[in-house]
């Protein structure tokens, strides 16, 4: 049977590839013939009538803000409430409270609380890590900004959990809810955060409220998804047992489903906290307080040292929060049984003792200056800044020819040809080519989605800019996949490499992209390549991790069989491991593409042009507000189309259709 079906699968795939090649060849031919005509271009300063009407919407909303009931009773209430929540957290740990010149809980109190909580929820190892991490941040000279960031993150995460966990439970229990909510969650997560900043400020003005809500949109989906997953993973038989004993639905939920899903829910909390922290720098664009402001300022003055110092603080905070919540998820599962270090009897009094120490530390930090304001004794910040600046300076001077060569190579042979093909072909040629490729690679549904999205993009009036962004995205994705395959295969095959490199990948994922944007500008100037390379650095760790997981998921038996048949390493990789993890690789492409799109947009801040610039300009120039909104919509549409196509292609890999 296998022998008969395999050639069929193979020819199916070959047919697909052949058709795609044909489409591309036809495209290039038509491009050569009709180049420059009907490109639907829009000059940078021009706006369409759609954009103008959106501008009018903006002014109308602004005028109505204090009279329209929808605003008065809904949006304004939310804005005020959220601001107050954030301000409350801030006055606890970071900003002067009332007529005190310092927050209620000073650095000693915060450090004590963090260490104590980490120990109680996790173990003493993460408690030490938390202690060390927070003290480090203080020594960097960034205590107040870090506390501002922590306050904002806490507020956002709190709201996310209060809304997200019940929503996740509902989704886990009800299939209908899943059908409604999943596409919304997809949307919330694939939409580049940059895009909804402007609409949010329209509704909620700038400040901590808009920042919190922007963070919320990005950070809520993980906890909803994981809670739903945990709830729906409860074995059906256990639920039957509970029902057969006469439980009501509420009793089953409370006593069976939620306790059994606790571990997954805590993992969801972990993911939400990570997502919230990653929004820190973007939130600064709408006047969110904290480390994000430091980074954005450093971006303006191209101060690599300050950017790196602040970025490092964000990474440290992220690592601490990540390890603590992960330890909490482990403890939730095993705590009851595994005896703690000192035996369960000793734990209670120890917790009590710890609580007393913590309260005492809080009291000290409330009363005494040295415990309230982080002392200036040791300054790690300056050496770090100088180190980062000198490294970048060295690379700039010594490696200038290499960096210039790389930039020129990628630009001349990657970005420029593709962009020229995409945005100077007549629009109908590009449209047909993209839909055709979508049809061949992803199937009918994907092609329809692509056609609909492209049509709507034409409607936004930003076709040419969209093609420019598409070109940059594709180039970046290709680079990401090259890195993903090379490093993913390496990490998948070698445990030692995995152990060494994985923390590096984790740190790279957590480091705010704005931070490494600064040295990249210093190295490559403000060009499209900078946007591309920043996107590559942002997306590559994800792709590498997914590919490594896929390689590792190939059954050991298959690899053993190939080895004992005498295959070389290269043959095993190309003939066994890669084909058998084809589905995972396709998924890695999908994820890489989404991440790349999110960063390519940020590239608009630094010479990336195209849709990214339109969004940024719309955000900063009133006359371009409508165009900025339209550009945001175009980015989302591009994201949806690309996402559908790659997901459909991934699905087809399994069925071998």
């Amino acid at each position: 049977m296998a022998a008969i079906s395999l050639p069929h699968r193979l020819t199916g795939r070959l047919n697909r590839r052949g058709t795609v090649v044909l489409i591309v060849v036809a495209w290039i031919a038509l491009f050569a013939a009709f180049r420059g005509r009907a490109t639907l271009g829009l000059a940078a300063s021009d706006v369409t009538s759609l954009h103008t009407s959106l501008n009018h919407l903006n002014t109308a909303v602004g005028a109505d803000r204090n009279s329209n009931p929808v605003f008065l009773y809904f949006f304004n209430e939310i804005q005020v409430g959220t601001s107050q929540l954030v301000t409350m957290f801030q006055s606890l740990i970071s900003q002067p409270a009332g007529d005190r010149p310092l927050p209620l809980i000073g650095w000693l109190g915060v450090v004590a609380i963090v260490t104590f909580v980490s120990w109680v929820w996790g173990n003493w190892r993460v408690a030490l890590l938390a202690l060390g991490g927070f003290v480090f941040i203080g020594l960097q000279g960034l205590w107040q900004e870090a506390m501002d960031t922590l306050a904002l993150t806490l507020a956002a995460v709190l709201v996310a959990l209060v809304i997200g966990i019940p929503l996740g439970v509902w989704t886990g229990v009800s299939r209908r809810a899943t059908k409604i909510i999943t596409p919304i969650l997809d949307f919330m997560q694939t939409m580049p955060t940059f895009v909804y900043l402007a609409p949010l400020t329209l509704l909620f003005l700038i400040g901590p409220a808009a920042a919190t809500i922007a963070t919320l949109i990005y950070a809520m989906p993980p906890v909803i998804r994981l809670t739903a997953h945990g709830i729906s993973s409860v074995p059906a038989e256990t639920l039957e047992a509970a029902a057969s004993l006469g439980s009501t639905r509420w009793q089953a939920l409370r006593k069976v489903m939620v306790p059994m899903a606790k571990r997954t829910i805590v993992i969801g909390v972990n993911q939400t906290i990570m997502a919230a922290l990653s929004m820190v720098t973007i939130a600064a664009l709408v006047a969110a307080p904290g480390l994000g402001q430091t980074v954005v300022q450093a971006l303006e003055s191209l101060d690599v040292g300050t950017a790196f110092n602040a970025g490092l603080a964000i990474v440290v905070m992220a690592v601490v929060l990540d390890r603590v919540t992960t330890a909490a998820s482990v403890r939730v599962e095993t705590a009851n049984r595994a005896p703690s270090r000192f035996g369960p009897k000793l734990r209670r009094p120890l917790i009590a003792a710890g609580a007393v120490i913590t309260v005492f530390a809080i009291y000290l930090s409330y009363t005494y200056l040295y415990a309230a304001q982080f002392p200036d004794v040791v300054d790690i910040g300056t050496p770090i800044k100088q180190f980062a600046a000198s490294v970048t300076g060295w690379v700039q001077t010594e490696l200038a020819p290499i960096t210039a060569a790389v930039k020129n190579f990628v630009t001349d042979f990657g970005i420029n040809p593709l962009q020229t093909l995409l945005d100077t072909s007549p629009w109908w040629v590009t449209f047909a080519a993209i839909v055709g490729i979508a049809l061949v690679v992803g199937g009918r549904a994907a092609a329809l989605t692509a056609a609909a999205c492209l049509g709507l993009i034409i409607g936004t009036g930003l076709w040419q800019d969209s093609m420019g962004t598409l070109a940059a995205t594709l180039v970046a994705t290709v680079l990401v996949m090259i890195l993903g395959l090379v490093f993913g295969v390496w990490l998948g095959r070698s445990d030692r490499a995995d152990r060494i490199l994985r923390p590096v990948l984790d740190a790279a994922q957590v480091m705010p992209p704005f931070v490494y944007l600064v040295p990249f500008i210093a190295l490559f100037a403000a060009t499209r390549f900078t946007g591309v390379i920043a996107a590559v650095v942002y997306a590559a760790p994800v792709a590498v991790k997914i590919v490594a997981d896929g390689i590792r998921g190939v059954p050991a038996a298959s690899v053993e069989a190939a080895t004992s048949a005498g295959s070389s390493t290269w043959q095993i990789i190309t003939k066994v491991q890669l084909p058998m993890s084809a589905r995972t690789i396709a998924l890695a492409t999908n994820q890489g593409l989404i991440y790349v799109l999110a960063m390519v947009v940020v590239g608009g801040l630094v010479g990336g042009g195209a849709l990214g610039y339109d969004v940024v300009a719309g955000f900063s120039q009133l006359s371009l507000f409508g165009k900025g909104l339209a550009a945001g919509v175009a980015i989302v549409l591009l994201g949806i189309a690309l996402d559908r196509i790659t997901q459909a292609a991934a699905r087809r890999e399994t069925t071998g259709a």
């Binding site: 074995p235 038989e237 256990t238 039957e240 047992a241 509970a242 029902a243 057969s244 004993l245 006469g246 439980s247 009501t248 009793q251 006593k255 069976v256 306790p259 059994m260 606790k262 009851n336 049984r337």
Partner: protein, 354 residues
């Protein structure tokens, strides 16, 4: 094989009011499932035909039986026979399509949610194949779960749980967690949990399929012991014929959702209703199941009629030695009436495996 006498194929129920009474129970999965039993033409078709024609799956087809009080009623069949669906229909874990399920005189299918819950809490409980325990609770809290949701206070339910734990032989493990126990012990917890609420009927869904053979044997003995001790009515689902014969007072064989034969173990082995059952019971050691009434022959002229006497319900294996050792053929007698003769030839025919 001597033809069974007329007494053998009687339905033993009717003596007392049945605990569970099932009439014409149907379960069909699919859209507009109710039309299948309602339409005589569709109702008569086989499962395959209905599937092809309507896309619906007939899981349980027109099943009727009674369960007497204190009886161990076994439903047997291979996978896909509908036995698991059937037992779930009895407690409405799966809602039947049509039919009647009467429990101690009450129609279960007509009960509203609250009444159903009460019935589940106090009248019947179920033991599951993969145990269905709550991994985040200790053994004692697992066992007390049914009482907890009923609102019984802590001290009372802990005491009751302890008693039941002792009953199933798990004393000392109250504070352990399920994942610290072996499979057999986990199923004992499941058993204890089912017993804790003092139900009238216990339902078992292939409870020992997931256990090792040796443990399975122990658990079967455990069930027999419990049945002797507390005397509860039991409905037992299994695909293992030897288990069914060991535990069951009466056995219902199902195939493709339909009833094939309902009777005691020796009826199934001695008088299989069709080739399917015959094939099914082929490997059973007949001497262990059949009783003398199945192998006796009518007395002939020339038979020596003063040999030893045995009742008709004595299992052949137990009678073998006596028959072979006796010089005269054994008389099969009930209430002083001579029913037949069993001689060496009859015994040897069975033992030699005809």
């Amino acid at each position: 094989m001597a033809a069974p006498t007329h007494e053998a194929v009687q339905d033993t129920t009717g003596a007392a009011e049945p605990v569970i009474s099932v009439r014409s129970l149907w379960k069909v999965f699919g859209s507009r499932a109710a039309r299948i039993p309602a339409t005589p033409e569709l109702a008569g078709k086989s499962r395959r035909e209905v599937m092809d024609q309507t896309g619906c799956v007939v899981a349980v087809k027109d099943v009727s039986f009674d369960v007497a009080p204190g009886e161990v009623f076994v439903v047997m069949g291979l996978s896909g026979s509908g036995k698991s669906t059937l037992v779930r229909c009895l407690t409405r874990l799966i809602e039947p399509t049509t039919g009647q399920v009467v429990f101690e005189g009450q129609d279960i299918l007509a009960a509203d949610a609250r009444r159903l819950r009460e019935l589940r809490r106090s009248k019947f409980s179920m033991v599951f194949q993969h145990f269905g325990l709550l991994p985040h609770r200790r053994v004692i809290d697992n066992v007390a779960y049914g009482l907890e949701i009923r609102g019984v206070n802590r001290s009372e339910r802990t005491e009751r749980a302890r008693a039941v734990i002792e009953l199933v032989g798990l004393s000392g493990y109250e504070k352990s967690y399920p994942d610290q126990l072996s499979g057999g012990m986990q199923q004992r917890v499941g058993l204890a949990r089912a017993l804790a609420g003092d139900p009238d009927v216990l339902l078992f869904d292939e409870p020992f399929s997931a256990l090792d053979p040796l443990i399975r044997r122990d658990m079967q003995s455990e069930v027999i012991r419990l049945h002797n001790e507390v005397g509860k009515t039991m409905v037992f689902i299994t695909h293992d014929l030897s288990e069914a014969l060991k535990l069951g007072d009466r056995i219902l064989i199902m195939r493709d959702g339909e009833m094939v034969q309902l009777g005691t173990g020796d009826e199934l082995v001695g008088a299989p209703a069709d080739d399917y059952v015959r094939d099914f019971v082929r490997d059973v050691p007949r001497a262990d199941v059949l009783t003398l009434k199945w192998i006796m022959r009518p007395p002939r002229a020339g038979d020596d009629l003063d040999g030893p006497e045995l009742g008709p319900d004595v299992v052949v294996r137990e009678a073998t030695r006596m028959v072979l050792a006796a010089e005269k053929p054994v008389k099969v007698v009930r209430d002083g009436v001579l029913l037949g003769i069993v001689g060496d030839e009859e015994i040897l025919a069975i033992v030699a495996g005809d």
